[in-house]
Amino acid sequence: MTAQPGVDPTDGADVIDLLLAQHARIEELFRMVAASEGESRQHAWDELTRLLAVHETAEEEIVHPLARGSIDGGADVVDARLDEEREAKELLKGLVDDGPQTPDFDARFAALRTAVLEHATREERYEFVQLRAAHPPERLANLARAVRMAEAVAPTRPHPGVESATANLMLGPPVAIVDRVRDAIRTAMRD
């Protein structure tokens, strides 16, 4: 619809662009989970949980430390974001443990969605804008590489035809993803 086949719309994107694209995909997946049921809901839910794990890890490893040291009031801004992330993670963990078939899934899912989307809006307003102002484009572009490495370690869109149970087995639960993503980012940042 938007992009032509063969054109990667994230070419030339910096670290903020990639995180914005992830926010957009996260919003979409929340909508998909809410609007679907059965197997397609499970697929959307699996992708959402993987993406959240990759995304929050990337932010904690790359963007928050950068913001802490470089934007006005960085420590307070980042601490507030980390508190929000902790709250969302607890909600997420409970839901991952119980799965989308659990009876009170809808209400807990709504709470998770609110927590995640409000957190994302605060990042975009109080952190991303300031980072763009504080750093030269090349620096932010270079950091994109670490986010790409994180995405590569835990692909969030399984190949078509791969059943979600299999994909889960291959990728492991979110906690394992987080460890692998963190290692990949730290390696990328050292290079």
């Binding site: 619809m1 938007t2 992009a3 032509q4 063969g6 054109v7 719309p9 070419d11 030339g12 662009d17 914005l20 694209a21 926010h23 957009a24 919003e27 979409e28 929340f30 909508r31 809410a34 969605r113 989307l117 409000e118 994302a120 809006t121 975009e124 804008v129 763009r132 102002a133």
Partner: protein, 404 residues
């Protein structure tokens, strides 16, 4: 159903004041909201703001301290109404998301009013204007994906198509050519007065919004696009406000404002699916009824006329938010190359138009063109929502339309 606003009593004025708790409304959930609910909120915000500003201007020319106090009281209530309405907008939506919703309002509200307008000259004014807001929606949608990585479908759903209209670059006309001829207040259908006031208020709020939020962006292309489209919204306010008969008295205009608010709250109450929002439309309708009675009393006292002489005999068909895709496609196919000359419309680019175009553009492409170029460059194409097939104007189809 017979609902006669001149007979209904509503909530007495002295019981309309609300405390902080009552003003603290729960905002809409942007991911669950009906896009047209958000459109209704944006319209009513623009309507309330016009009422407030109209009342301020009236008060500034009013020598009678008693009337001034009465206007001040009603205006305070209207300021509360504006807060309640506009604070329904979701806090997690970005400015650009709200901008896209504003353009959806401009498209589907103006298109609906154009369809319903009985006077051919006024209808032409709406048909002319809507193709420009339609194009703004497309430009902002491309900006949205570029700088926020979101798709405009998230805001407009598939209710409103997103594709080129009359290109924004040619909306920059000589100001003389933005002044229309007014309707005649004595012979015009009263419905036409409500239409003109509604569209003018909506465009005025869009102008105010862009002129204030535009500088919040860091990205040069975003700042520049808000400058460019902000200038056009001011042209649109000139275009629509000049449709209104300048001979209407202050009292008559006050009555028209209050009646229009009753009309719109009533319209939106009848179609609102969100129960919390519906309750607000209903409450405000009941407040407006008493405000209308007070305005009618002022008109009787100071104009020596009965409000019935200037108002519709009954409430017109409710203003409705609904898709206008076929109508817009028809307009795109027949009116895309129009511009204005004096108070009329022509297809030829005339001298005054071309001179202003040269002055404003110089040798540069404006932001409205560059935003599409940049999007094509970064995303390999442009952002559109074409639910009803390829663009009706062949030259505005995408090269890749063949394989969609």
């Amino acid at each position: 159903m017979t609902f006669n606003p001149l007979v209904e009593k509503g909530i007495p004025l002295d019981r309309q004041l609300r405390n902080w708790r009552e003003l603290d409304v729960e905002p809409l959930d942007p991911d669950a909201v009906d896009p047209y609910t958000r459109c209704r909120v944006i319209v009513m915000n623009g309507i309330e703001i016009e009422s407030i500003m109209f009342s301020h201007h009236m008060a500034r020319t009013c020598p009678d301290p008693e009337v001034k106090r009465q206007l001040a009281y009603t205006r305070y209530i209207e300021a509360q109404q504006q807060k309640v309405v506009n604070w329904l907008l979701p806090p997690i939506a970005s400015t650009l998301e709200t901008t896209i919703a504003y353009e959806q309002v401009a498209v589907d509200l103006t298109a609906w009013i154009a369809r319903m307008e009985p006077d051919p000259y006024l209808k032409q004014a709406y048909e002319f204007g809507v193709l420009e807001d339609f194009d703004h929606l497309y430009r902002y949608a491309n900006l949205f994906e570029m700088i926020e990585r979101r798709k405009a479908r998230k805001v407009v759903d598939d209710l409103t198509e997103v594709m080129p209209g009359r290109p924004t670059t040619v909306h920059h006309r000589h100001p003389y050519d933005n002044v229309r001829d007014p309707y005649d207040r004595n012979t015009v259908d009263p419905l036409s007065k409500l239409h003109a006031l509604t569209v003018m208020s909506a465009e005025q709020q869009t102008m105010n919004f862009y002129m204030n939020v535009g500088p919040q962006y860091m990205e040069p292309i975003a700042r520049q696009l808000y400058v460019e489209i902000g200038m056009i919204e001011q042209e649109h306010v000139t275009h629509y406000e000049s449709l209104v008969d300048p001979g209407e008295t202050w009292w008559e205009r006050l009555v028209n404002h209050e009646y229009n608010e009753v009309y719109l709250y009533h319209s939106f109450m009848t179609q609102e699916p969100d129960p919390k929002v519906k309750a607000i439309w209903e409450l405000h309708l009941n407040m407006e009824l008493a405000q209308l009675q007070a305005a009618c009393d002022l008109m009787r006292r100071f104009d020596g006329r009965e409000p019935e002489e200037v108002l519709a005999p009954q409430l017109p068909v409710p203003v409705t938010f609904e898709p206008n895709k076929e109508y817009l496609r028809h307009l795109l196919g027949t009116q895309i190359d129009l511009t204005t000359l004096g108070a009329g419309y022509v297809r030829e680019a005339h001298e005054r138009f071309e001179r202003l175009q040269e002055q404003i553009h110089g040798d540069e492409k404006p932001a409205s063109e560059r935003v599409i170029d940049m999007h094509r460059e970064r995303f390999g194409g442009e952002y559109r929502i074409e639910t009803e097939g390829p663009h009706p104007v062949e030259s505005l189809r995408r090269p890749e339309d063949g394989d969609r």
